[in-house]
Amino acid sequence: MKILIVDDSEVMRRIHRNTLLEQRIPEDALLEASDGVEAMKLAIAEEIDLFLVDWNMPNLDGLSFVKKLRDMGNYAKTPIIMITSEAAKYNVVEAINAGVTNYVVKPIRGTILWDKIAPYLKDVG
């Protein structure tokens, strides 16, 4: 299983990492990217089972990254969770239309993040 964490903030990446490690996800399953471009490279090189993507990022922002990912046939149905500090309705609509699977709003508690991604990890094993 491979989980790709995409966030321009080292701190946030660390927090997500810790959350996942706490839930007994093996360390070698976690991959990180600090922007959309880097994330794209990793997505092409590896077979990612779950994406955690930050909404606001330089170079290639979260939403555009998601759209590009969905255009790639092999990632059409892969679960993508957006992490965002904005939860206004129009944002959610945008995200849904771009192909996002679910979202969490910052500040996030560890349990909330886990609850949102757990169902998809079950499928992967």
Binding site: E10, I15, S85, E86, A88, K106
Partner: protein, 153 residues
């Protein structure tokens, strides 16, 4: 500059500290700053534009910043490295995002926060409006929120 524009950010800040960091914060009485360019060690800037224009700056001392970010990430930071600055930026991002909710009734756009260190950065405060500082006290140390907004006529 009206309370209705400023209070959402103050509330979001207090909310973040309380809920996310588990720190008690108490706001002090706002006052006009003498030197608007006087900043603490680490500052995060949020720009506003729309029916009111200006900026909001969260300013932390080095120690406070370290303590806050350490608390946030669970790792003990000892120096103001890029990670710490990142963390500060994230915090302010969250504050700005949460404040947005209370500003939906107004036509305002919030810019992405940027983090700077030291005093050398020159903040473009709006002209003709003083800069007001709201001091905060917390268990992780004191910090302040400097704000200056100018409404369209």
């Amino acid at each position: 500059m009206k309370a209705k524009y400023v209070n959402p950010f103050l509330n979001a800040t207090m909310g973040l500290f309380k809920d996310f960091l588990g720190l008690d914060v108490t706001p002090g009485k706002p006052f006009v700053v003498d030197d608007p360019q006087d900043l603490s060690d680490v500052s995060a800037l949020i720009g506003l534009a729309g029916e009111t224009t200006g900026a909001l700056v969260l300013s932390f001392s080095r120690d406070t910043a370290l303590r806050v970010v350490s608390r946030l990430s669970g790792k003990d930071y000892l120096a103001l490295g890029s990670e710490v600055l990142d963390g500060v930026g994230e915090l302010v991002n969250i504050i700005a995002g949460n404040a947005k909710k209370d500003l939906l009734d107004f036509r305002i756009v919030i810019s992405l926060p940027g983090v700077i260190t030291g005093n050398s950065y020159r903040i473009n405060w709006p002209r003709g409006v003083p800069v007001i500082s709201i001091p905060f006290a917390s268990d992780a140390g004191d910090f302040r929120v400097n704000v200056s907004l100018k409404e369209l006529a």
